[in-house]
Symmetry: D2
Subunit: 218 residues, 4 copies
Amino acid sequence: MPSPAPPNVLLTGFAPFGGETVNPSWQAVSAIEGELIAGHRVHTRCLPVAFGAALDDLRTAIRTLRPALVLCVGEAGGRAAMSLERVAINVDDARIPDNAGARPVDQPVVAHSPAAYFTDLPIKAMLAALQAARIPAEVSQTAGTFVCNHVFYGLMHALRRRAARGGFIHIPYSPEQAARHPGAPSLDVATVQAGLRLALQVALTTSTDARLSAGAEH
Amino acid sequence: MPSPAPPNVLLTGFAPFGGETVNPSWQAVSAIEGELIAGHRVHTRCLPVAFGAALDDLRTAIRTLRPALVLCVGEAGGRAAMSLERVAINVDDARIPDNAGARPVDQPVVAHSPAAYFTDLPIKAMLAALQAARIPAEVSQTAGTFVCNHVFYGLMHALRRRAARGGFIHIPYSPEQAARHPGAPSLDVATVQAGLRLALQVALTTSTDARLSAGAEH
Amino acid sequence: MPSPAPPNVLLTGFAPFGGETVNPSWQAVSAIEGELIAGHRVHTRCLPVAFGAALDDLRTAIRTLRPALVLCVGEAGGRAAMSLERVAINVDDARIPDNAGARPVDQPVVAHSPAAYFTDLPIKAMLAALQAARIPAEVSQTAGTFVCNHVFYGLMHALRRRAARGGFIHIPYSPEQAARHPGAPSLDVATVQAGLRLALQVALTTSTDARLSAGAEH
Amino acid sequence: MPSPAPPNVLLTGFAPFGGETVNPSWQAVSAIEGELIAGHRVHTRCLPVAFGAALDDLRTAIRTLRPALVLCVGEAGGRAAMSLERVAINVDDARIPDNAGARPVDQPVVAHSPAAYFTDLPIKAMLAALQAARIPAEVSQTAGTFVCNHVFYGLMHALRRRAARGGFIHIPYSPEQAARHPGAPSLDVATVQAGLRLALQVALTTSTDARLSAGAEH
């Protein structure tokens, strides 16, 4: 009798946007395709940087894979550390157009839905593990109001009645990108990959989050 | 027959915290006490920087004054502009103790309540007016997880069934404070006062917010 | 018999540049015209933001006024404090054109002259006085490579055989300017004026500089 | 007849300081020991973070190796890119003690010597090559006033009568270090190594520097 297939994890990155030719989120995520982490099989997807379409693809992947956990990863040019996002808010407010040319202003991600969802990943335990492994990491109190927050909100909304947990991690520019953004910090893709593997490992094996402060005065 | 008293506005600042001897939010707010703005009488209060107690005082003032609009103002050392806060989230996560020594970690502001509230002030119209008046201003997507966010969340929760609108503005250090924080930006209290008067004027006279992007990619 | 005229101080600001319509250095400096500080009469000049021409005007003013002390003031958009410049270097390297369209690259300010001059103003004593007065201030190790450094180098070169001392202070954007530069710090012109008066007072009354560290690791 | 030994290059890093347990400058430099770059043999040294002693070791290595080119590399925690230093100034002003406990204030590096030396490496050509290779890089107008600038100044002074060229590159924290400095940028050591090899290659094969602007307004 064959052993049962391991449960699935869905790990997503994004396509390039904002004039970039690569997106380090997909560079980091795609290398983890098929790996077995904490007894779960990692399936990766590259989402378009487009309001609506990104969520369509995400929902399709969730229906297909029935993952136990979903982690979405996006680029945050200007940040210096892997940012474990705490909360997704129900608003699209685009300073720049998405890759399909859309630029919504103050539209809800999902109409008639809550103002926000908190992640249900153990971000404090993940933060502690990343810091112990000497990988630059932080908890972030905002995922912005562009496609990343849109996907994060849509993810948590999609999971609200499923036995699955979800979260979002923002990552810095890669050094290759930062070379064209004077003064901007970067993090190499290999370090990000190690961080994502560790983050998944902790998320899949932690039932109660650590009680550690990672707040902000403002 | 005497003319009726004008409707009230409640404008709050905070006491000093974090080792400071002044709080520019109260310095700016207290000077506006009693003024008449857009036909409304401004009443000011200084809130303690303490989880719980700050909200107790705020709720008492709301019950007493029955204001048509409440604007809370807090110090955000490190920011360079007046920050119109978009959203309050239902979590207390204190990196430093409050003035009463409390340091909650990942506690809800109000148990069994929504994850977040959006302000219902017209922050885009307020932003446009401040920028037109050449006062440094921005929309902010996070009010943090300390006493400022606590008060902002508690405010919006308290107003949820009242015919009153509410919002929160973070302000930079004053120059006097920044003199002791090398590299930190500042904004003089007179400019902040002018900004607060203008913000209240716009908030009290705008029914539909402007449709302007003031989002963030992350 | 008339009392002798007091000795002169020359205080310069700059014209607007880089797309700005004002230059807070001249706004601050011009208000001090004619004042008597520590027994010296302050004479002000507005220098053009142009390589060469700025130095021509500066040298003319020095020849005319025979000042005991010269303090040049320039705008440093992006800095948060009054920056007491330590050293001027003998290079022009313009990232943007000056107001006359010139954009020199790696040219000496004065050919066949030293690589650098240190200011001979007591910048540590000036720093201490500004901080004691709660005015944001710092010592800076670079005045850049644009017209400000050009003027500062040319000033120290011009004074090298005169019984006069010289120095340079960079100031932040005014709040009015910062309103159009999201995220940029500012300092109000009144605070800058108070800082300049105090800086001159200390410079004119201090013979031996204070021994205070104000260095940088890099 | 044996072929003659190739000419030497001296490449230095530093020991850990400021509470760190590693110094990425030595991590990056030590891996290049013995390599042949543009026909030159690379010799590496680890300098102590101590005023005086660092220069003693540097001068000894120069006398021993008679290098054609010397490149010193130091850590600049807080910077985001490899910084090609333009100028060394003749002052020690230590905000923190060096590893021997010394904390000089406003002392010359070398008494009775010029205020500054410019590097004679082709930093603009090196910058262009690094950027073309997508390695984050910038020209810096100040190397600070601590041991790095001390070594850079002492190096240029030592080389002033030798047929050898010299320069200094500051590098960011490694990711491992940045993990303990919230918000600080980092650059992985492998990228720094690639950058140092490329910088040496360009420096050793470029006689006339490129004419590219890399200046700063302030």
